[in-house]
């Protein structure tokens, strides 16, 4: 296999795109055998990791065609995670926006309080299938770490979670939850001591431990086959939403909105709708404090194609290709890259990506709590903030679904601190 060399760093060259098949229309039949979504994705990792990713790709390919594996997965999703999660009509948010009917896909009601568990249960079962006894993970805010520790406890696996020392200090509750379930939390002191550095450390661990260890990556990022595996395990969100919409409304929604950091909840929500041209898909990134590099985490809206953590996608870098600092009020969106399938959906115009600021997200956090009795994760609050504006532009017969990717208990301390400083944002009557 050969590939064209990309010359203009801001856009992929026409020869590159031509060679991979010019993606005018997004297909659900991605990635290809080498892990490419159009020109994005791929496998940019040291040779020492190639045996691991090849082994994983082969095992996953067998597992997804194996009815026993699928039965096992369904069992745990139903009995342990508590699926299906409801599709809830948010009447008072609908009233507030004054446009389309707003529904919430309640991933916040899944065990551990977020969608992350869908992936860790799936990959935990894969670990058992491969006969491995240890799992490792990276975590930023700790949600994926908690979901991994949960799967480890449920399946009797040893678990080490890499977490930046900065994040450990900021997220003591999740650190305790992980330790309580028997995981070891490894403090990462390198680089910026946050999520991207935790990811580097987890990859390094895996390079030396691949014989007996599986790395459960937490989002649709990393080298092939991770973006595909995580998307597939998260697709239960979109599949349920699709059939619930048909059941409740007798038709598919007009718009679906999800927040995007690495992009796993959005990928899981969007993927089953990709070939439904009538369903508009919106991804909402973290606009942080504004448009200046370093002040946001909006890789798709403001970044350029680049390579980070093993795949080609949109990234936030300086002119030398060094990873830029990022900021978001939401630790789960605070990542300088994004999954390659989102890059593919952006370039094919299948998904429309937007960013909303810390302030907008905090206001939506308060609004959702006060108008629906649901405290959303700050990540999900980004989706709500955009969705309220989008719904207002739509008419009353239309339907907009927000992926409520997680609950906001973990964010309450931070929100309390910020609201005391900034004052409680007013909620429209």
């Amino acid at each position: 296999m050969s590939q064209a060399v990309i010359e203009n760093p801001s856009r992929l060259s026409s020869s590159q795109v031509a060679e991979r098949g010019n993606p005018h229309v997004a297909s659900a039949a991605v990635p290809d055998a080498t892990g490419h979504f159009g020109p994005y994705g791929g496998t940019y990792v040291p040779e020492t990791l190639m045996i691991a990713v090849h082994q994983l790709a082969e095992e996953y390919d067998r597992a997804r065609k194996d009815p026993d594996f699928q039965r096992q997965l369904s069992y745990y999703l139903k009995e342990f995670v508590g699926r299906p999660t409801p599709l809830y009509h948010a009447r008072r948010l609908t009233e507030l926006a004054g446009g389309a009917k707003i529904y919430l896909k309640r991933e916040d009601l899944a065990h551990t309080g977020a969608h992350k568990i869908n992936n860790t249960i799936g990959q935990g079962l894969l670990t058992l299938r491969m006969g491995k006894k240890r799992i490792i993970a990276e975590t930023g805010a700790g949600q994926h770490g908690v979901a991994t520790a949960t799967a480890a406890a449920a399946f009797g696996l040893t678990c080490d979670v890499y977490m930046g020392s900065e994040d450990i200090r900021r997220q003591s509750l999740n650190v305790f939850r992980m330790r309580l379930m028997g995981a070891r939390v490894v403090a990462v002191e390198t680089g910026s001591r946050t999520l991207k550095d935790a990811t580097n450390e987890a990859m390094r661990d895996w390079m030396g431990s691949v014989g007996h260890t599986h790395y459960i990556i937490g989002s649709v990022v990393g080298p092939h086959p991770f973006p595909q595996i995580v998307r597939d395990f998260q697709s239960v969100i979109g599949q349920e939403t699709r059939s619930q919409a048909m059941q409740l409304l007798g038709r598919l929604p007009d718009a679906v909105v999800a927040c995007v950091g690495g992009g796993s909840n959005a990928a899981g929500m969007f993927y089953p709708f990709v070939e439904d041209a009538g369903v508009k898909l919106f991804g909402v990134e973290a606009g942080g404090r504004g448009l200046i590099l370093g002040q946001h985490a909006a890789s798709l809206s403001l970044g350029q194609p680049g390579v980070l953590h093993g795949s080609l996608s949109y990234v936030l870098q300086n002119q030398d290709g060094q990873t830029a600092d990022v900021h978001s009020i939401s630790a789960g969106l605070d990542y300088p890259g994004v999954g390659p399938e989102h890059a593919y959906w952006k370039d094919t115009n299948r998904v429309s990506y937007h960013a909303c600021t810390d302030t907008d997200a905090l206001a939506a956090f308060t609004t959702t709590a006060q108008r629906e009795g649901i405290i959303p994760a700050l990540e999900s609050a980004h989706a709500v903030a955009f969705a309220l504006k989008q719904a207002a532009k739509m008419d009353k017969h239309q339907v907009l679904i927000i992926n409520m990717s997680g609950r906001g208990d973990k964010d309450c301390m931070e929100a309390a601190r910020l609201l005391n400083v900034d004052g409680v944002p007013s909620v429209k009557a």
Binding site: M1, S2, Q3, A4, V5, I6, E7, N8, P9, T34, G42, T43, Y44, V45, P46, E47, T48, M50, I51, T190, G191, K196, D197, N200, M203, R204, M207, G208, V210, P305, G306, V307, L308, H309, G310, L312, Q317, Q319, D320, G321, Q322, T323
Partner: protein, 271 residues
Amino acid sequence: MNTNIDTAFDLARSKHQALLCPFFTAGYPDLAVGPQMLLAAQQAGAGCIELGIPFSDPIADGPVIQESYRLALEGGATVEKSLDMLRQARAAGLMIPVLAMVSFSVIFKRGTHEFAKRCTANGIDGLVLPDLPLEEAPAVVEALGEHGLGSSLLIAPSTSPDRRRRIAELCTAFIYYLSVSGITGERASLPSDIAPNIAQLRQVTERPICVGFGIHTAEQVRQVGSLAEGVIVGSAIIRRLTEERSRPDPNPVRATQESIASLAAGLRQVC
């Protein structure tokens, strides 16, 4: 193919002596002292230099090299300044081949052809591509070749025989054989499978083979030098430079000279 690289290895082969290939981080401990350090390495017996272009997120590197990257970046080492440092070293008499070890993120950002032009203009002979596996490498290697730059890809103990052959076919500089799986860094003892693995590689390639990862003593240099054309020493040298920084009167040039001379003593014992 790159003449400077090929000539150096041909010459070493004819003398039945391996090349010592020390690794330096461009901009560590600082950019200004870089040219003198590289010259000191050449004088003390280095046969080839591997010059790490600092990157914010190096996955394959251990803590010692990673920290040197971080400090180099903090000290202002951009790609352009790193290459300019080498240009100065060349102007001051650095003759031995220099391969830049560069993360593909950095190459991609500039575009392969543009990056290659900057390399050749500043005295780089080839690139070590630590995170570009067989699946993604062919077009990049071809583009670098058009500019006269050699490419070295990594082969690990875990790499299958068929894959080794296909990777070796792409290597236009030397083959970078990793003595151990995992990240860079010093190991107490070298694994026993180096000899059979190199013997196996010989059957599929005529390119020179350099062994790296974990080598830090003159004795290990001697052992590996009796098997391969090149011995790469990385973390041990960077660690020595890091120790030097914390001394009251640091002299990184002298530290380089001493460090390389003691490792090169291992090579002389081969003959």
